[in-house]
């Protein structure tokens, strides 16, 4: 990790930071802008050399830290990420798309050509890969910030820790731990709500359960995430399709969630069976 071995060096050297995106909604990059005052303080200490959402400056690297948003969805992206990796010391994926493929990875279960013809009048103009895959499937990744979008607190902690050469405090525990520390009543037990909290990594501050909603797993699987164990319990009161639907969302392609979806025969309502747009009665 950058400067991890010597805070003194960090003090001497202004790290070069880049932010790039692939297939994604830009929401995670916006979290960086949402840091507001903190962002200005950070900008005082680093050189932001590439950040399309914020500046017209462009750089081909090298980067001390490169934040990567989005999944790899086209052949061009697959080539770009390899080039960027070579120019980067610490590569950090930000958000569910970059870390597990994101919501667009749902297409990995469907017939790619069929979907393309459904969506685009001239699918031959579209060059895309059959799958949307996480960055780590293509190059090595040094750190991950989870979430859809990422948490500003975790982003701030990551940047601060990295600048001073400290191990960032990004716990790999269940959302449940945050619920219990906050004193949020468990929505799964008290309300029977389907909640992915027990298998999802913390970092959001138990946002959804605090509003009485089940966790929908946007931070993706935690360490030792026992998707099948949770699915087994949910089967008492839910049918298999409901359970698969709960897991087949933002981090569907992450292996512990994928196992549950595959166990149910794939995500419910595959889009390649949806009626074509032009002929609603077909």
């Amino acid at each position: 990790m950058l400067a991890a071995s010597a805070p003194r060096e960090a003090a001497r050297h202004r790290p070069r930071i880049g932010v790039v995106k692939f297939a994604s909604c830009d929401g995670c990059q916006l979290t960086l802008l949402d840091l507001e005052d903190d962002l200005l303080a950070i900008a005082d200490r680093v050189d932001i050399v590439e950040f399309a959402e914020a500046t017209s400056r462009r750089s081909s690297g090298p980067y001390d830290i490169l934040f990567v948003e989005g999944s790899i969805s086209t052949p061009e992206q697959a080539a770009d990420i390899v080039r960027l990796r070579a120019a980067t010391t610490t590569l950090v994926t930000i958000g569910a798309c970059a870390t597990s493929g994101g919501i667009q990875a749902l297409r990995n279960w469907s017939d790619h050509d069929a979907v393309r013809s459904l969506v685009y009048p001239r699918p031959d103009y579209i060059e895309s890969l059959a799958t949307a895959t996480p960055i780590a499937d293509h190059v090595s990744v040094d750190a991950e910030l989870r979430g859809c979008p990422i948490s500003p607190d975790q982003l701030r902690e990551f940047v601060t820790a990295t600048l001073v050469g400290r191990r960032p405090n990004l716990p790999d525990e269940a959302v449940c731990a945050e619920c219990k520390r906050r004193g949020v009543v468990c929505v799964a037990v008290a309300d029977g709500v389907t909640c992915l909290g027990p298998v999802t990594r913390s970092g959001c501050g138990a946002l959804c359960p605090a509003y009485g909603r089940g966790c929908y797993g946007c931070f993706g699987p935690r360490e030792a995430a026992n998707g099948p164990g949770l699915a087994l319990w949910l089967e008492r009161t839910n049918d298999v399709t409901d359970i698969a639907r709960a897991f087949a969302l933002i981090n569907a392609w992450a292996p512990p969630f994928r196992r549950v979806i595959d166990g149910a025969g794939g995500p419910p309502g595959p889009i390649d069976q949806a009626p074509p747009k032009e002929s609603p009665d077909a």
């Binding site: 071995s5 200490r45 050469g165 731990a177 219990k180 468990c186 008290a190 909640c195 026992n226 319990w233």
Partner: protein
């Protein structure tokens, strides 16, 4: 709140508080300076929270709880305390989920945050919860240094217990011997009847409050009705978990197949531990400003179900599997808690059953893993640490007391390790003994435990291997830098116990660091020892520590020193292989030998086996264990191992004391 006293006055023992007078009791508590915390309904469940008015109590509600489910049903009556127990344990107020600890500045100074504690009255505390408060108090005051924050909170709290009139399906206090009857541990005890409460005070503080209410005596009928009510609760719960011999039965089952089976269902989500009223484990998180000039630490609830809980330097982990973690939790609650604290670690409140999101019922697991009936085969269990030499003396170490020290010299030992010399005139630090360790704080880093590699008249040496950011920062120190040390911590090597006999010292790699003070001590009083043999292993010749010093030792005639490396190189003319080869066929036998061993776990296990074949008794074979030692004083729970906290009862143990905890994986 201290140990219960007998009822102070007959009137107080049998007064009656009409239902309408409940508000007056709350007012009296507030008039006494207390914030009143009690049961109230939030988000469809009863929680403990600050209440301003008796109307906020969950009157007319009763909880239906079962494994993994909880629901409130209307009772149609106006009783306020028929809800069972709340989601939250009282530990939220006595041992809060987040407590700020220290501020560290880049000049190495550590400042402790003083506890800011409100005076609180807890109303609605159940018998099982009183037991839990007592158990946590025992744990967090066990020392060598008690938890100051907890002590302050308990001292500032007043406890109003309410006898149970209704049992939940998940209750099993009767089995654990903690309820349902309230006998001690409260200041005031209420029993709820349809038209009001019998009320008695158990302490002078309670008596004072009750006296202000100016109540009439309870009738014999009211007192009898209250007693019959709680007796009926006992009958309705029965004895779901026969505990006779349970601790021993569990101890005998470390490899029961059920551990793996429950791990398939267990989500390791931490809910059971965080709702548990006795679970006390915490972690310390560090945060810092952007320039790294100021760092702050905060203590948060943690759980033995997280991966990070068993993690040590270099990302090794002692409990990587969920089955390991579940076993750790269950055996601690019902077995090793007795060894450590002389009580059960479970009070039978059933929260872990209700709030397990997949409905795992520990009662069922216990019956499957350690069924009542035939007594288990006797398992050799280590004697308590007191049977060996004593742990570090109590009361000498303030867990929050950091001593700033200056780095006076830095010496590179290997590619990834450095020896830092510190100067200090702190008498506590200078009284360090061989085998002890210190917590090392530098500005914005986590605070790692580092064993002392030399005790000098004017300071200490620490030999540190760079295995992560905190140790990287430390190994980058320069003369003139300042850090803060907390310690000395842990139980030292029992070097004196080797007086009059032979000594064998076996070190593997960085494991030589905590052994060097033993060598120093033995050489300082060389005449007290017989033959001294030192066997050193390392991965490669470049990974050897203190090379010049060891070379000088090998030239001495009053000791034997042999070295071996796993992998030599063309330039290495010495032995190649593992350290046990140095003495597995040696001529000596170890009847009067004491061995001091430090290295990776596997190396120590192999060494202990080989030493046994040479006749060195397990009682005289001493090892020092590496675990996740975060607080260093037995309060955070990370380093718990069988009946021990490694930081407090160790890190030095004899192989006999460790028994099978030394060899069973995942402990």
């Amino acid at each position: 709140m201290t140990a219960a006293l007998p009822p102070v006055a007959d009137a107080a023992a049998g007064a009656f508080l009409p239902r309408a007078g409940l508000g007056r009791l709350l007012a009296a508590l507030r008039a006494d300076g207390c914030t009143v915390v009690g049961p109230t309904i939030r988000d469809g469940a009863v929680v403990y929270a600050e209440i301003a008015d008796a109307a906020e109590l969950p009157a007319g509600w009763q909880a239906a709880s079962a494994p993994g489910t909880y629901r409130l049903d209307a009772t149609g009556r106006d009783r306020a305390f028929d809800y069972g127990i709340a989601v939250t344990a009282w530990k939220r107020f006595t041992h809060p989920p987040r407590v700020p600890l220290t501020t560290t500045t880049d000049d190495g100074l550590v400042t402790s945050v003083e506890p800011d504690v409100p005076r609180m009255a807890f109303i609605g505390v159940r018998a099982c919860e009183l037991a839990a408060l007592d158990i946590q108090e025992r744990v967090l005051r066990a020392g060598p240094a008690g938890d100051m924050d907890h002590a302050a909170r308990r001292a500032a709290s007043l406890v109003v217990a309410v006898e149970c009139a209704v049992a939940m399906s998940t209750c099993f206090c009767t089995s654990m011997g903690t309820g349902p009857e309230v006998s001690e541990g409260a200041d005031i005890v209420l029993a709820e009847l349809d038209d009001g409460f019998t009320i008695r005070a158990l302490t002078p503080a309670g008596e004072r409050i009750v006296a202000t209410l100016e109540l009439g005596e309870a009738t014999a009928g009211q007192i009898r009705a209250a007693a019959e009510q709680v007796a009926a609760v006992r009958v309705s719960i029965g004895d779901p978990v026969p505990t006779d011999g349970l601790a021993e039965r569990l101890r005998a089952a470390p490899e029961h197949p059920r551990w793996d089976e429950v791990a398939e269902r267990c989500l390791a989500c931490t809910n059971c531990t965080l709702v548990c009223p006795t679970c006390f484990c915490t972690s310390v998180g560090v945060s810092s400003d952007l320039d790294g000039t100021t760092g702050t630490t905060e203590r948060t609830w943690d759980s033995c179900f997280t991966l990070g809980f068993g993690r040590v330097a270099g990302d090794a982990n002692f409990r990587p599997r969920v089955a390991d973690r579940y076993r750790q939790w269950l055996t601690h609650k019902f077995s090793t808690w007795w060894d450590q604290f002389g009580s059960t670690g479970c009070v039978g409140c059933g929260r872990c059953i209700t709030w397990c999101p997949v409905g795992i019922d520990i009662r069922e697991e216990l019956l499957a893993i350690a069924p009542p009936g035939a007594p288990p085969a006797p398992v050799p269990w280590p004697p308590s640490p007191a049977a060996g030499h004593a742990p570090a003396p109590l009361g000498t170490v303030d867990p929050a007391r950091y001593v700033p020290v200056d780095v006076t010299a830095v010496r590179r030992e290997t590619a990834d390790s450095m020896t830092l010399s510190f100067a200090t005139d702190d008498q506590g630090l200078l009284a360090s003994r061989a085998g002890q360790f210190v917590m090392v704080a530098c500005a914005t880093q986590a605070v790692p435990p580092i064993s002392i590699s030399r005790i000098r008249e004017d300071g200490l040496d620490l030999t540190i291997r760079n295995v992560g950011p905190a140790t990287a920062a430390l190994t980058a120190s320069q003369a003139g830098d300042r850090v803060s040390l907390r310690g000395p911590l842990g139980r030292p090597w029992p070097v004196e116990s080797a007086h009059g006999g032979d000594v064998v010292i076996v070190g593997g790699g960085i494991g030589l660091a905590p052994l060097r003070p033993v060598i120093d001590e033995v050489l300082r009083e060389r005449h007290r020892f017989g033959v001294v043999r030192i066997y050193l292993g390392a991965r490669t010749p470049h990974d050897r520590l203190f090379v010049a010093e060891m070379a000088a030792l090998s030239g001495r005639t009053d000791l034997e020193l042999e070295e071996i490396v796993d992998r030599g190189g063309p330039e290495w003319l010495g032995r190649v292989g593992v350290v046990t080869q140095l003495f597995e066929r040696a001529a000596w036998t170890g009847g009067r030998t004491t061995a001091f061993v430090c290295g990776p776990d596997r190396m120590m296990q192999a060494t202990a086996r080989t030493l046994a074949t040479r006749g060195v008794a397990p009682e005289r074979t001493w090892v020092t264990l590496e675990r996740n030692m975060a607080c260093g004083v037995g309060l955070c729970g990370h380093c718990q191992l069988g009946p021990y906290f490694v930081c407090r009862d160790g890190p030095v143990f004899s192989v006999a004391e460790l028994g099978d905890t030394f060899t069973v994986e995942g402990r």
